[in-house]
């Protein structure tokens, strides 16, 4: 076997940053241990929210990376070519409904969508799936039912959330249109692994993709969780209570709150239901907007998709949510 070992300078190039990171982390750990930020209420609150967001989200990101690796290594390209052959008016709703079969929250669906698009599925369909899955999956529907049980607005919330989530996801796919994966996906170094399994074993390729996705998504998840925890710590929720009675402003306020809180779609219904001073429309806006657009997703989208994608999602989802939630409030509120 030909040995193509790296020259010594490259190995040293790997060691130097590793030493820097190890030293940096050790210093941070020692500082945290000695300074005891728990004595400062805001610091303790920040660290608790930050850690709990990540402890809950990391296994889902890993599951997403695992599904993504299975798609890359074990699912033949021909499957996606067949799906890509479906007429576009069918492709988008079918992709959104496919989200019902993927019971993970929003962090897990991002790597899967990226992989689907890079394997040949139309990016519009992959993104429609990514946005719909966190709202349409059965666990989220069940948690919404539980959170609103016993209330008159139960079915308006459950059906309204599912319907608006479906429409918003399809609308984003429609806006993206026929843009190619080359135009939509950011190139990243881990993509080089994509062709490794042509030369190595499938298991090596599988773990390569899994690790690459985890490391890539993980760092942006950490940054997003840090921003969300800071906002939860320093922006009191009571601030938005003053606009509860204002028709359109209350919806915008709840959408803004959903963005700041970055809750998992499997738990956000419990929080939405707690804002009893807000109407059906505003609570619905919180439940539709949050799983598609929030602080941590902003980081994940920006790292995964091309420049401008996050803006398209924000504007389209906000427009559909606002109009749809207002209509539902008029009909049942």
């Amino acid at each position: 076997m030909v040995d193509i070992a790296q020259p010594l300078p490259q190995r040293n190039a790997s060691l130097r940053p590793v030493a820097g990171v190890v030293l940096g982390l050790t210093a941070i750990g020692a500082l945290l241990h000695l300074l005891e930020p728990g004595r400062i209420a805001a610091a303790q609150n920040f660290l608790l929210v930050f850690s709990s967001l990540l402890i809950e989200a990391v296994p889902f990101v890993l599951l997403g990376a695992l599904v993504s690796a299975v798609i890359e290594v074990f699912v033949p390209v021909t499957v996606f070519e067949k799906l890509a052959g479906l007429p576009r008016p069918l492709q988008l709703p079918a992709s959104a409904l496919a989200g019902m079969a993927f019971p993970v929250c929003e962090c897990g669906s991002v790597p899967v969508a990226r992989r689907l698009a890079s394997k040949g599925l139309a990016p519009s369909a992959a993104i429609t799936f990514m946005l719909a899955a966190p709202i349409l999956n059965p666990i989220v529907i069940a948690s919404t039912v539980i959170a609103y049980r016993g209330r008159e607005s139960l079915w308006a919330m459950v059906l309204g959330r599912s319907a608006l989530g479906l429409v918003a996801a399809v609308a984003v796919g429609w806006v993206i249109g026929s843009r190619s994966s080359g135009e939509m996906l950011r190139v990243r170094r881990g993509d080089a692994v994509a062709h490794d399994h042509e030369h190595g074993s499938r298991s090596a390729a599988f773990f390569g993709h899994l690790s690459s996705d985890f490391v890539f998504m993980g760092r942006y998840l950490v940054l997003g969780a840090a921003v969300a925890a800071a906002l939860q710590t320093f922006v009191p929720q009571t601030v938005i209570g003053s606009v509860a009675g204002a028709p359109v402003v209350s919806l915008l306020a709840m959408m803004g709150l959903a963005f700041l809180l970055s809750l998992c779609s499997e738990s956000d219904a419990f929080v939405a239901a707690s804002f009893v001073q807000f109407g059906v429309g505003a609570q619905l806006a919180f439940l539709v907007f949050g799983p598609m657009v929030d602080t941590k997703l902003g980081f994940l989208y920006s790292a995964t998709f091309s420049k401008g994608f996050f803006r398209v999602v924000v504007v389209t989802v906000a427009a559909v949510t606002l109009v749809g939630a207002l209509w539902i409030e008029v009909l049942v509120g």
Partner: protein
């Protein structure tokens, strides 16, 4: 075949998170971050992360090894930062600071129904149910004067009488980020004896009054933070 530094860094990131999840299980600290509804992610996460780390380690030798750029190394460092933070810090739960920042309308779906409030021993979940719906509040009003036994931490309102404080407990449905507080006003406690954020057990008689719930204390005693500091479904 040579070791690929980039693959080893990926294996290290996975292994570090696996270690954190095993640590949470071994130390019983999962309850400080997650509800009983979602704590299954810790053993599942620990198992998948461990298998993934081992798989990555075994496959880290390559004919075309990749070196680790400074950008990659710091990216892995960012992922490891929360692991270091959780391991380095002493265990803690949400405090009165969080209570001042969060919604206290405890209407989460797992709170008690009017039927549950109407019978049996009263809990803070029943109080949350009463604050959630008029029917449950009516059921609680019908039980005014009943004996209660609540555990929570002390929060103080500015201007409150010396023998009064608010007993607070958080309810979480998935993780700490979605915490909602349930609060009862405790009157007749020993003045100045309990500090903010101190965990106490209060026994006394309950009196719903308007949109708040008051407990006329028979006894208030300091207790350790419970193993499960948050109320769960």
């Amino acid at each position: 075949m040579r070791w690929s530094a980039r693959s080893l860094a990926g294996a290290a990131a996975l292994a570090a998170w696996a270690s954190l999840f095993w640590f949470l299980m071994a130390s019983g600290r999962t309850n400080l971050y997650l509800s009983s509804r979602t704590d299954w992610v810790v053993p599942v996460g620990a198992t998948i992360l461990t298998i993934s780390a081992l798989g990555r380690l075994v496959s880290a030798r390559s004919q075309t090894p990749e070196h680790l750029s400074p950008k990659d190394a710091w990216g892995v460092g960012v992922i490891l930062l929360p692991v270091v933070a959780v391991l380095a810090l002493p265990p803690a739960s949400l405090s009165s600071f969080a209570a001042s920042r969060r919604s206290s309308f405890s209407s989460a779906g797992f709170t008690s129904s009017p039927e549950e409030v109407a019978s049996g021993e009263l809990s803070l979940g029943d109080v949350a149910g009463a604050l959630r719906s008029q029917e449950a509040m009516s059921a609680l009003v019908a039980r005014a004067g009943s004996e209660v036994d609540f555990t929570g931490f002390v929060t103080r309102d500015p201007g409150a009488a010396a023998d009064e404080f608010t007993l607070t407990r958080f309810l979480i449905s998935c993780c700490v980020a979605d915490a909602l507080s349930v609060e009862v006003r405790v009157v007749g406690g020993p003045p100045g004896q309990f500090e903010k954020d101190q965990w106490v057990r209060v026994t006394g008689k309950i009196y719903p009054l308007g949109d708040e719930v008051i407990v006329d204390a028979d006894s208030v005693e300091a207790v350790e933070r419970p193993e499960k500091p948050y109320l769960n479904p």
